[in-house]
């Protein structure tokens, strides 16, 4: 066997393995969704991601077929070529020969390639049409703004006094369309919810819109997918798809101002929160803290994560985060606030009560 043949066979083996693994992973992941938020394009949970997956499959299978055909042709010509050894004189006859005219099978190959490319374009157009035809009646309207490195979500349904802000977590009703209006506060970000929809860029000074529908309840992990600075990797957005009644109850809860703390330690935490540097950037509705530069903390205890998915939302992690944010997200805009242990505990107790 010639070395070239050897290389060729390895190439084919790798290709077969890759296709096999892709088709197997499809089933393996569908059977076993990731525990903390599914994050998988192959495990679609809504019509938009489904259309994109269909298109991806068309591309994959067509490109694999073309690749396999080219490899087969290569194999055929490798076997057909005249054999020689080191003593065989070089064949130079073709140097003087006139340029051959395009042969019939070259023409055929060009036609086949053109048809294949046109087929991919047609598939793309049909996918775009399908994406644009998601029925939007009764949609949930959410403004999502990207910041370095977290997300604001403003729920727009209802009157101006019924709108509310939350951060880094979206709650959506199952089976209802969601319209997300995307804006950026600083640099270019991109939102991607692999299980639910395609990517969409957030460009400063422009607005974009993304529509999706979650057909199964669950937790879906989203991510910024346009490099946006030091903590780009820790810019996570979780989507919680819940039944309609649960969604309505959540919205009612989020519309309320912050709960008044009951125990004296949390009351002290509230006072501290409003007077030290917290209130310079964060808002807690119903108190003097009304700044919009950092995440709205009115119902922070109802969220599952802190710092855009960097930490779980537990009292210990919250205290560690306030004490030294730069340890967990170096470069983040949250500064370390020098506080005594007692003051820190009071603020953590206060924030822990903001359900």
């Amino acid at each position: 066997m010639t070395p070239m043949m050897n290389l060729f066979l390895r190439f084919v083996a790798a290709l077969v393995l890759a296709v096999l693994m892709l088709s197997l992973s499809d089933y393996a992941l569908a059977a076993n969704p990731l525990p903390e938020g599914a994050h998988n394009v192959l495990d679609t949970m809504g019509p938009q991601a489904g259309h994109i997956l269909d298109l991806w499959r068309v591309f994959l299978y067509l490109c694999c077929a073309v690749f396999a055909l080219i490899l087969l042709a290569l194999l055929y010509f490798l076997r057909r070529q005249p054999r020689g050894d080191a003593g065989t004189p070089p064949e130079l006859g073709f140097v003087d020969a006139p340029e051959p005219a395009p042969r019939r099978h070259v023409t055929r190959a060009v036609i086949a390639s053109t048809l294949g490319l046109v087929a991919l374009i047609v598939a793309s157009v049909f996918t775009d049409r399908a994406l644009a035809r998601l029925p939007l009646t009764g949609a949930v309207n959410i403004d999502v703004t990207g910041h370095q490195w977290w997300w604001t979500a403003r729920y727009r349904n209802g009157g101006p006094d019924e709108e509310f802000n939350t951060a880094n977590e979206l709650v959506v009703p199952v089976g209802k369309p969601v319209i997300v209006n995307l804006k950026s506060d600083d640099v270019i970000h991109s939102m991607w919810l692999p299980n639910l929809a395609g990517k969409k860029d957030l460009i400063p000074g422009r607005s974009a819109s993304l529509q999706f529908r979650a057909d199964k309840p669950g937790v879906y992990r989203g991510q910024c997918v346009e490099f946006c600075g030091l903590q780009h990797a820790q810019m996570t957005l979780h989507v919680f798809a819940v039944p309609q009644e649960q969604f309505d109850a959540w919205v009612q809860g989020q519309r309320q101002p912050a709960a008044e703390p009951a125990d004296p330690r949390a009351q002290r935490g509230k006072q501290l929160f409003q007077s030290v540097s917290c209130a310079m950037c964060h808002a807690v509705q119903g108190t003097l803290a009304g700044a919009q530069r950092g995440p709205d903390l009115t119902h922070v205890a109802s969220r599952k994560t802190l710092a855009a998915g960097a930490l779980p939302n537990t009292p210990e992690d919250l205290a560690a985060w306030i004490r030294n944010p730069q340890l967990y997200k170096p470069g983040s805009s949250m500064p370390a606030t020098p506080l005594s242990q007692e003051d820190l505990d009071a603020i953590v107790a206060y924030l822990g009560g903001l359900k």
Binding site: A279, G331, S333, A336
Partner: protein
């Protein structure tokens, strides 16, 4: 010998560039050693007021004036903490301008630091205790850059929002055009 000297010179040059661009995220902020206390002079404070005195600076030099990243952070905070609400983008308005050479309470780093921390009569709020001290030093460095007191390669450039080509400005203009009726053509019949 000469190539070695050139290499050393280049390395030294590269090191100065490191200082200009270094991004440090260490938590114990500078000026953490005990400093003498100063009274609050402004009557206003952001959010809920604090009692007691504010910290005075240890030394009369901002630790961030050689660092372009920190000065840029100061620029961001100048907008975030609404310094621009009164001082505008340095041209002044409700508050005095910051881009000229005239200073009521001094233009050296320690004076600007105390002005921010203590507040000043006639409206400058007292931010001591409300803004972490290293952030105050970053704002001090940015404020000094506006009057050209910093090295030119460290000072940040003009904000995008000040350029006429900014889409947000364009939106504002469209709005104004819609609000105002068009002027009659000269010589048009009434």
């Amino acid at each position: 010998m000469r190539p070695a000297l050139i290499l050393v010179a280049l390395a030294a040059l590269a090191l100065t560039a490191c200082e200009r661009e270094a991004r440090r995220f260490d938590t114990p902020s500078k000026n953490q050693t005990p400093a003498e206390q100063a009274p609050r002079m402004g009557t206003l404070q952001p959010a809920a007021p604090l009692q007691g005195q504010v910290r005075a600076p240890l030394r009369n030099d901002s630790p961030y004036e050689e660092n372009a990243y920190a000065v840029n952070q100061g620029k961001r905070l100048y907008r975030w903490y609404n310094c621009s609400g009164c001082h505008s983008m340095g041209g002044g308005g409700i508050g005095p301008p910051l881009m000229d050479s005239e200073w009521r309470y001094g233009g050296d780093p320690a004076s600007i630091f105390t002005s921010i921390m203590q507040g000043r009569p006639q409206g400058m709020p007292s931010f001591g205790g409300h803004i972490p001290e290293d952030q105050v030093w970053q704002i001090v460095a940015y404020v000094r850059s506006m009057s050209g007191q910093l090295r030119k390669d460290v000072a940040p450039s003009r904000a995008d929002t000040l350029y006429p080509g900014n889409p947000e400005n364009a939106r504002g203009k469209e709005h104004m055009e819609q609000a105002q009726p068009p002027l009659p053509e000269p010589g048009a019949r009434r």
